[in-house]
């Protein structure tokens, strides 16, 4: 499964030689399920909450500023996917949270239509601090979590890079 997927996706394959790339997908599962959840709040919780807040902010910016809309809309979509993946991981570890505070919807954000610069800055700040927040636990997290967080860091960095 893993191997065929890698082989299919890694399209840039060696034309000659013994296909070293094909060795890259050992079928070892890195994901350890069933481990009991550690006490205290899950460190992914604030990362998920931030992703939800960023999505709301980016949608508000897109609505108020047509010039930023394509970029902000894409950011909102990506941050929403981050939140969904993080919530799924949170539920996997703790199917029934001890404090059943179901994730509250992120508060709506007012974005002034007459201040493009401020709107742009708010999005830059958001993706910038999202990178720092998601990068912090990468070193010590279980492999599958570290990979998820790393992709989120990379996604936010790529948004920052292509900001108009």
């Amino acid at each position: 499964m893993t191997r065929s997927r890698l082989a299919r996706r890694r399209v840039l394959t060696a034309a000659l030689g013994t296909g070293v790339l094909a060795l890259g997908g050992p079928a070892l599962a890195a994901c350890t399920t069933g481990a009991s959840a550690p006490p205290g709040p899950d460190p992914l919780e604030p990362v998920a909450a931030r992703a939800e807040e960023d999505a709301v902010l980016a949608d508000a910016v897109a609505a108020a500023h047509p010039d930023l809309a394509p970029w902000a809309t894409a950011l909102a979509a990506d941050r929403r996917q981050h939140a969904t993946a993080l919530r799924a991981e949170l539920r996997r570890v703790r199917p029934t949270p001890p404090n059943t505070t179901s994730p509250t919807a992120a508060a709506p954000v007012d974005v002034r239509a007459d201040d493009l610069g401020a709107a742009r800055t708010s999005l830059v700040d958001a993706v910038h601090s999202a990178q720092e927040q998601a990068a912090a636990p990468v070193g010590g997290a279980p492999g599958h979590r570290a990979a998820l967080l790393a992709s989120i860091v990379a996604c936010c960095a790529s948004h920052e890079a292509v900001l108009p």
């Binding site: 399209v11 034309a15 790339l21 060795l23 492999g143 790393a150 790529s158």
Partner: protein, 149 residues
């Protein structure tokens, strides 16, 4: 290196990452011939980043007593590279391949040092992929999970 010798899983992930870096270096060499002068800097910077990453990865493997995988003499591109558009599209593929390999290193390697270095590589690949999509006029510049298989 001050860290313990990487285990077999980590070595395999690093070798795969090195193989994709070899491929990326080769790609940028090919692409140079097909892009206009105003993209030369973007190509050169990307090529430099991949050569540096290739060299660093070779050092990590060699320090662990492992023979780094060599570059292939040539690579098969997923489509013929004949003009700027096909060349720019190839850069996105090369960056996506390296992103996937470095994410896999993060997933399978334990040490924070190695993960930190792999994260830098993943971020660099994702950023370059987004910039190349922008250069190529793609409607969507980012992916939600760079490097995810």
């Amino acid at each position: 290196m001050t860290t313990a010798a990487p285990d077999a899983v980590t070595v395999a992930a690093l070798q795969t990452a090195l193989a994709t870096e070899h491929a990326a270096v080769w790609c940028y060499g090919l692409v140079t011939a097909f892009v206009p002068g105003d993209l030369a800097t973007q190509v050169a910077e990307a090529a430099l980043a991949h050569r540096a990453r290739r060299d660093a990865t070779e050092r990590v493997l060699a320090d662990a007593g492992v023979t780094p995988v060599p570059a292939e003499p040539a690579y098969r591109t997923p489509w013929p590279v004949t003009d700027t558009a096909s060349a720019v599209a190839l850069t996105v593929t090369a960056e996506s391949d390296t992103a996937e390999a470095w994410r896999s290193v993060i997933e399978r390697a334990g040490g924070p040092q190695l993960r930190s270095s792999a994260l830098t590589a993943l971020v660099g690949a994702a950023v370059r992929a987004a910039r190349w999509r922008q250069t190529g006029g793609a409607p969507l510049l980012t992916v939600p999970f760079p490097g995810a298989p």
